[in-house]
């Protein structure tokens, strides 16, 4: 499949942990949910402010929450990699097969990539600096609103397609 060995992306150590300690997989699921809640909660609040919700909220202080959103993101990445590299131990499906055949997983990864590009656009376009200067009562420029709307759409999409992954296996 794609010229890759069947065991590509499988990690024996992760498979061993999942097979030996039955709590490893559900622990990863719980941490994945905590990560996405932190990420969506904080990024969602930032995006909603740019879209005009809570107009009295100054934007710059919200940045102090972004490290927690980043923490949530990395928690999701770490646990997501646990699911992929240890998949064989849980459902006897090779990760390569999941990546090739599970189109829900593919769409989720595409949405994550697009969310990353959208985030780059926020910084490259200068909208991040413009947003930081928004005080109570200030309205974000249209470009910032488009980026915020895209961000919200993409991250909600990541949750939606991510939830469907088991049905694509």
């Amino acid at each position: 499949m794609l010229g890759l060995p069947e065991t590509f992306l499988q990690l024996a150590f992760v498979e061993y942990l999942i097979a030996t300690f039955r709590w490893v997989w559900p622990l990863s699921e719980v941490l994945h949910f905590i990560g996405l809640t932190l990420l969506i909660g904080i990024v969602g609040i930032y995006d909603l402010r740019l879209l005009g919700v809570a107009p009295q909220m100054p934007v710059a202080p919200l940045r102090r929450l972004l490290p927690w959103a980043v923490l949530g993101f990395f928690l999701c990445v770490f646990t997501g990699l646990t699911f992929v590299t240890g998949l064989w131990a849980n459902v006897a499906v090779h990760p390569v097969e999941a990546l090739v055949w599970d189109y829900f997983l593919q769409i989720k990864l595409v949405f994550i990539g697009l969310a990353g590009i959208n985030l780059l656009a926020l910084y490259q376009s200068g909208m991040s600096e413009v947003a930081d200067k928004l005080g109570p009562g200030d309205d974000a420029p249209p470009k910032a609103k488009y980026i915020a709307a895209a961000s919200l759409f993409l991250w909600v999409g990541v949750i939606y397609w991510g939830r469907l992954i088991p049905w694509g296996l």
């Binding site: 719980v30 809640t37 927690w68």
Partner: protein
């Protein structure tokens, strides 16, 4: 009682939901989306009350609450639909009742925080520094954590449920301790003056 659940589970409505894989997975997905907004917004508010990012003014956070309540309604509706599909599975599972119990506790705590911190005439930033507000915020975060854990472990055996719950508590205690040390050293954690 089990016969009643079996009647519900084999009803036309329940069967049509189960037979439509699109409907079933969409309901599950929206349950997670609703959770993200409900727990995300209330959890962020609780973190702020506990002193994370104290430069964020609290009062305007009230404007996010309508979306939080939308998340709750999405969860309530999708939760009822999921329960109608498999009542014999859910109503015999103790973790289902524990999850619902913590959801009720969390909602009560959110309402108490709304009155104490965001009530008319309240100076939100000052009210948030009170011991009562911080206690409510801390218990709220714990309630949401318990809700997420019990929701996720419903599919597993009792020993796995218990082991997972203990593993989560140990992991988070370690993460909070290490995170606090690193966060303070890097200046990422401010404390309210």
């Amino acid at each position: 009682m089990i016969e009643f659940f079996q009647i519900v589970e084999s009803s036309g409505f329940s069967m049509s939901l189960k037979e439509s894989s699109t409907a079933y997975v969409a309901i599950l997905a929206f349950h997670t989306i609703g959770l993200s907004f409900l727990v995300g917004i209330s959890g962020t508010t609780a973190l702020r009350i506990l002193g994370i990012a104290p430069s964020i003014p609290l009062k305007p956070m009230k404007d996010f609450f309508p979306l939080m309540w939308v998340g709750l309604w999405v969860n309530a509706i999708t939760g009822v639909l999921l329960t109608l599909m498999y009542p014999t599975k859910y109503f015999v599972d103790l973790s289902f009742y524990i999850k619902l119990g913590f959801v009720v506790i969390a909602i009560i705590l959110i309402r108490k925080i709304q009155v104490l911190v965001f009530g008319d005439g309240a100076d939100s930033d000052t009210a948030a520094e009170s011991k009562d507000a911080r206690k409510l915020a801390g218990i709220l975060l714990f309630s949401w954590l318990a809700t997420i854990v019990t929701g996720r472990v419903m599919a597993y055996s009792i020993p796995t449920k218990a082991q997972t719950a203990i593993a989560v508590l140990i992991f988070l205690a370690l993460a909070l301790f290490i995170g606090r040390v690193i966060g303070r050293r890097l200046g990422l954690i401010e404390t309210a003056v």
